[in-house]
Amino acid sequence: MAFKRDKKEEEDGGGNPFENIEKTSVLQEARAFNDTSVNPRKCTHILTKVLYLLNQGEQLGTTEATEVFFAMTKLFQSKDVVLRRMVYLGIRELSSIAEDVIIVTSSLTKDMTGNEALYRAAAIRALCSITDVTMLQAIERYMKQAIVDKNPAVSSAALVSSLHLARSAGELVKRWVNEAQEAFSSDNVMVQYHALGLMYHIRKTDRLAVIKLVTKLTKQSLKSPFAVCLLIRIACRLLEDEDGAPGADSTLLSFIESCLRHKTELVIYEAAHAMVNLRRTTAKELAPAVSVLQLFCSTSKPPLRFAAVRTLNQVAMSHPSAVTACNLDLENLITDSNRSIATLAITTLLKTGAESSVDRLMKQIASFVSEISDEFKIVVVQAIRALCTKFPRKHSVLMNFLSAMLRDEGGLDYKASIADTIITIIESNPEAKETGLAHLCEFIEDCEHTSLAVRILHLLGREGPKTKQPSRYIRFIYNRVILENAAVRGAAVAAMAQFGAQCPDLHENVQVLLARCQMDSDDEVRDRATYYYTILALKNRSLYNSYITESLQVSIPALERSLHQYTLNATETPFDMKSVPLAAVEPLVSEIVAQKAVPEGTIMSTPAPQRLGVSKEESALELVSSIPEIAALLPQLGPIFRSSEPVELTESETEYVVRCIKHCFARHLLLQFDVLNTLSDQLLENVRVSLEPAEGYRILREVPIPRLPYSESCSAFCLLEFPQDDLSASTGTFGATLAYMVKDCDPATGLPDSDEGYDDTYMVEDVEVTLADQVQRVWKGNWAAAWEEAANLCELEDTYALTSMRTLQEATTNIVQFLGLQPADRSERVPDGKSNHTLYLAGIFRGGHDVLVRAKLALADGVTMQLTVRASTPDVAELVTSAVG
């Protein structure tokens, strides 16, 4: 990038003319806009500077922006075309910062309906950027006219602006569908494309309408190739939706297939890309698409070659046999002068090729790996990762290559992806573990990225003690303590402690090193060293387990808050760790599915989904504390132990939509009912959900919704007490009815017609309380140790026949979901082709009872399961076994 800029500057000779401008001086100059007679050339130049500043990320304050904006409005008096168009751009840039921007509405409407063609499209775009929902009605007429305008630029501008407006004023834009329809029949390719975009956007939420639109359009032949591409994408989205209408599917598929014979390359590629990426395409349907891509591989146009090889690369893992057919063409592309194409070709071959060709391809790639950009290096790394899982025996070649790459220069993303790959290899292939760890050790010797070093140290701490020769890692780790910054030193100390805890013969040495670390200059490092030193000095296995090998199980933000609360009230009693809500472990099953959805080897590295800093329980607590009736009871209830996912108690398109969230406390259950009123002519009052609780439950308090107007969603609450003596009665089904008082009201104003109302009820589905609602998932790093330790607790064992399950994986997934426990040691994944499997689960029952479950599964006619439960009380163990039965 920097190189590019340098080059450009050289060509320009003078460099960037705007390089040294300053905000204050430009704002000063902008006062020239106020002169009685406008000098168009000068003002255009100043305006350019203002726009340049804004685009460089310079921030203008509201007053500054408003001042410039109003000065700019005076430029409307000039008839200069260039200046006027600059003013439009200025309006758009400043519209979000300045105040009272609606001042130019009339001036812009005049320009957009005027005779000057050069003004019209730009004026529409500027107008839509300054208009908010309340003002939109005033310009609606002009927008409708503009959409159907003869001039394609005007029509396109109006259509695209409508799309932008739809974000804030969806309802209003929906009324323009007829105009969009008319624009769609335009001869201009762009207008047709944009019109289709708007038409689709308006119907987007209504699946049936979209299907109707697509089926209608697939029968016509559209003039615009762009519109056809969009249509293909819409069709794909419909096909990907799971509950697709069966009749429409075949028409959609045949439409996409017919597009493979379109006369435009753009459309052909789009159709082929769509075909290979559809999750449900069969090998037969795939063949024509792949042959199209194959053809593209040998064209003279680089963009087409690139597109084809990139698509093949993406699907190489999902449809290896189809891609193998193109191997010959891909071989030719290895020597392509365009490095990006060559890289993609090689990595595709690596993914699909035979084991024997790996060495040759790796040599080829090594010859130019230093010339390609980081992004493509990541593609190479991902290909290698795929190779390793496919050919475990080749790991030494690949590992050497990876370690060579690690030594090269590269950004964090690139290095992280290499480290990730090595870690995956280590985890999936025990043979590669020692070499992999050795490479990583070498890497951290000279690693500039703190985050990576910390991760690798953590990994060494986890895996190192289990290797044959743990002592060799200690040197690498201790070197970090001497050489690195505080964060890495801290991680190194923690890693060493793992060795101390798990390798008795290293215990002495680790203690010596930790003692030295207590002299560190950083507080955190010193604290950690002291902490581990003290625990290790006690030589107590169970202490090691709970305080070194296992990580903290409570939710960190909750812990912080609880501690803060504790420091506020001066009490003599020590802080109780049990009172802190546990951290919810994200269900891994969904993660695996999510990973699969991302096509392998995409060029852009997809960012990992951001974990929310606040857990469900945290946000629930916040909500509940805001209800005075419940908040008063909170001190008795204790912290929220677990909040369930919302459960729909009605269909989503009924008069009232009711969802239920179950908040579980140590001895109480709080049901939160979110009620949405979808009837515009009704005002509901005193809305509550009347429950028929299962036996043993006691309703303590109900909080109704006092007033529920149209399209608003409010929450009613119901607090119950769990059955006290009989734990097995705590799972059950509650009959539920929505009860409320209806007042008819005027749909426009929302005011009730009279004060008289009548009582009514509405049946909703039953609320079910299951075992999973009362259990929090806990991740055990060392499940086996925990299981041994729990040997003296209550143990129950039972055997079940799960006849409805066809595969072990299906059974495993169901058990995990049903029990609501956290699988450990990756046991939720069943290796392919095995006929028996053992699932390890861990969790905590409300009230702080540990639960460990071992499920031995065997596949015969259906699945047979032997379930062993170890829990701290017999009641809990019994509940778990009975829940499965």
């Binding site: 008096q77 009339s106 005033a138």
Partner: protein, 201 residues
């Protein structure tokens, strides 16, 4: 300040450019008044409430006017003041049939006159008592009294009854206005302006 300049100005050969502000309550006829001055083929056939402002240009007795037609709706009146500073004359349009809101007009006028960018400047103000054809229209004398125009001592002002739809009375008003603006624009009176010769070039 050569003799030539004076001669040029005297004979009205040199074209003068002025910026004027057209204000008044909503529905008083500002846009219609300006529409009357536009060339025949530029005229809009339908007048809609202005949102914000519009810029119109017209000529009278060799003076080029750039008129800022401000929106009169209540919530946009605050925006007038952004344009006070660099205008050289104000046209204030009043709906003479709207007796009820005359008090509002007076209030808005007072605000305008007290504004630091207007007070103390000898800006000519033309009042148009518009819609004179309406049956219950007040006469211009009554409106002048109702607005307390006699209090304005430091600015030249003039009021005339008008009908913007037919154009009746507008010529009279604008003729006066043009003369006033031209006097203000005389070289002697505007020492801050650059040499007129430069402008003539």
């Amino acid at each position: 300040m050569g003799l030539l300049d004076k001669l040029v100005t005297l004979f009205g050969l040199r074209k003068q450019e002025v910026k004027v502000l057209v204000v008044g309550l909503n529905n008083s006829g500002k846009t219609t008044v300006l529409n009357h001055f536009k060339a025949e083929d530029d005229k809009s056939t339908e007048i809609v409430p202005t949102v914000g402002f519009n810029i119109e240009k017209f000529k009278n007795q060799n003076v080029g006017f750039t008129a800022l037609d401000m929106s009169g709706q209540g919530r946009y009146r605050d925006l007038w003041e952004f344009y006070y500073k660099d205008c050289q004359g104000i046209i204030f349009v009043v709906d003479s049939s709207d007796r009820l809101r005359l008090a509002v007009v007076r209030h808005e006028l007072d605000l305008l006159l007290q504004h630091p960018d207007v007070a103390g400047r000898a800006l000519p103000i033309l009042f148009l008592a518009n819609k004179m054809d309406q049956r219950d229209a007040l006469s211009s004398v009554k409106i002048a009294a109702g607005l307390g125009l006699d209090r304005i001592l430091d600015k030249p002002w003039h009021i005339c009854a008008s009908n913007a739809v037919t154009g009746e009375g507008l010529e009279e008003g604008v003729t006066w206005f043009t003369q006033q603006v031209r006097q203000v624009g005389q070289p002697g009176n505007r020492p801050s302006r650059g040499g007129p010769l430069a402008a003539a070039k």
